[in-house]
Symmetry: C2
Subunit: 420 residues, 2 copies
Amino acid sequence: MVKKNAFYAQSGGVTAVINASACGVIETARLHKSVIGKVYAGNNGIIGALQEELIDTSKETAKTIAALRHTPSGAFGSCRYKLRSFEESQAEYERLIEVFKAHNIGYFFYNGGGDSQDTAHKVSQISEKMGYPITCIGIPKTVDNDLPITDNSPGFGSVAKYVAISTREAGLDVSSMCASSTNIFILEVMGRHAGWIAAAGGLAQEQEGDPPHIILFPEIAFNEAKFLMKVKQTVKQHGFCVVVASEGVHYKDGTFLSDSGQRDAFGHAQLGGVAPTLATMINEKWGYKYHWAVSDYLQRAARHIASATDVEQAYAMGKAAVEFALVGKNAVMTTIVRKPGKTYRWEVGEAPLAEVANVERKMPRSYITKDGFGITDACKAYLQPLISGEDYPPYKNGLPQYARLKKVLVKKKLTKSFML
Amino acid sequence: MVKKNAFYAQSGGVTAVINASACGVIETARLHKSVIGKVYAGNNGIIGALQEELIDTSKETAKTIAALRHTPSGAFGSCRYKLRSFEESQAEYERLIEVFKAHNIGYFFYNGGGDSQDTAHKVSQISEKMGYPITCIGIPKTVDNDLPITDNSPGFGSVAKYVAISTREAGLDVSSMCASSTNIFILEVMGRHAGWIAAAGGLAQEQEGDPPHIILFPEIAFNEAKFLMKVKQTVKQHGFCVVVASEGVHYKDGTFLSDSGQRDAFGHAQLGGVAPTLATMINEKWGYKYHWAVSDYLQRAARHIASATDVEQAYAMGKAAVEFALVGKNAVMTTIVRKPGKTYRWEVGEAPLAEVANVERKMPRSYITKDGFGITDACKAYLQPLISGEDYPPYKNGLPQYARLKKVLVKKKLTKSFML
């Protein structure tokens, strides 16, 4: 094989374990220096490639790269920047190939969700067309767990663990105060179109009657009257009511319960504020005292309580991506395959990028209870292994010690700069 | 000494470690059964005493009591119920003494904040007056860290650790996305009148320029123009800006930035919503994209990442309370005394309840930077030891295993019930 450099980029919302995938890519590539020269990381994701801002990961020590495994967020910077169709974004695709060519890059590892797998797929097609073929391997990542084919997505297990633990802990708090104070606690979690994260709150429930008492999914149209009745019944029976609500909860007509009006680069609504909306709704109807929390970035950055399973899988996905490239695979995404049997076991698999791109996997209806407010045993059986195990980062002075990179940029070779 | 039973109650907002104090009380009392008969815990705090709902802790196994050490929230139930002056609440004080007498209770351990220490003080005075003297020992507890005399309050260290870690983690998240997406992240934390919790966010900062870039304290009147300018400068310099805001932030005239309108039993405003208020303010002025989080109960229930120092001190405060009673002390609160010297060392001390009651300790001005937006080195030196060490609870199936109590109620002896 001709020796080529590799390009790795992080895309979209970051997670507690996306750097573990980066660690898997870089550590594995370092074992095959005769084939893969250097690993360049995009400074702020694909934007780094377009602007020829390539971070030379060979300048980072083995210790720093190893520390990526326990460092949350996107160490090289990520971005919300979507390449559209070849016709709409032709200049961008051409620029990418131009940059890759200039830096002798033959491998493209793209770590992201559905939109990113679509980009990886297009780069693979276009590089062929332009006569500079590039091996494109997708590495799955999304806290939303909405990628198809793969059994789950790295990043999700750790958010799920955080939400399940937080629900259990806050549930104990409310239950101990409800006799004379707060009766209602609402936790708003991420999940724009898929309710996987909200569902994970259901794992907190060990016995009948334990919180959460109500889970609100984007998959189930919000019915105000039914919801308010369920809240009242729950408070009557248990003295308090804990609700885990997905940010994507919406009415039958598609209107989100709360829409801040902001839009991201992909045109998606930036949500937030479902929790206070629900709290006010309950208070106005029944007068109950409430508290609410919006965990926002805290949930997806919570490396301090990451799922050991998630960390292991994130690393494995990065490692496998390089191994796939080394054996000549192309235009595929690494996947997690759950093996049959009662004990949870998994292995690495693959999915053609063409089949992954832009397909959104929602919760199956069979994972949601009949009344639409809880998760079924089948759902618990699916979710539970994903939050298994603790993988604590090292601490110093009471705080987790996360990697700090030098981020040395490769010298530019192109004379033209590129306007986004 | 004549053998008497003890009464223990949890009061006010619960914490990640108040049960560690309960554990200290019960385990220590069990070592002195010839003097202290049984430990009865108030079902839902002092309300349990008034309504003669006493939980017989002797019915709980040693294993369950030991598990209290790693269980957040108030295992016996807490309440927001304040006894006023003797004149205003005479019937309640008389009822308390009546219940204590009926159950041969000679020791009153009250685990709470300033209001509760006031109640303990009054019970001590009134029991003398009514000819049924009761040994009253206060055990400090408050996430707000606003009790006087004691160097810090159990419960605070763990919230501080949670807020510092969350700030560091979310800060990494925003920093990795800011090139093309969110520039502003606001974390709203507890602290109605004292900014200790918000200050703890400052511990996340390791190097100049690290988040948080702005801390908003209730001790510093909010100046909108100055704040907005600081936000702009920070984004210009670092590309993003992380703000940790106390729920109690208010304008010069005392108006809170956000007041939900609810009042608790003590008449305090129930706050919430400072984060979205600030986010909107910034967005309207500068147009920056934002995210915000309100951690609410999550922060004070986060036993999964409790400070080992805090857990140890909470236990020690409960243990010392019983030991104080055994040597005949009365009307005092156990305290944490910081010993002089560079290495952090502490010991158990005491403070007269009369001096603790209703005194609120705010942040000294010397702990806040001149511009009012950060913490000084002196503040860091004070805070850092309090978040030191990790004390992880046991896990099963990916979730922390917290104590479940039987809560067997003692048979009532009084014929009259009591209306609150």
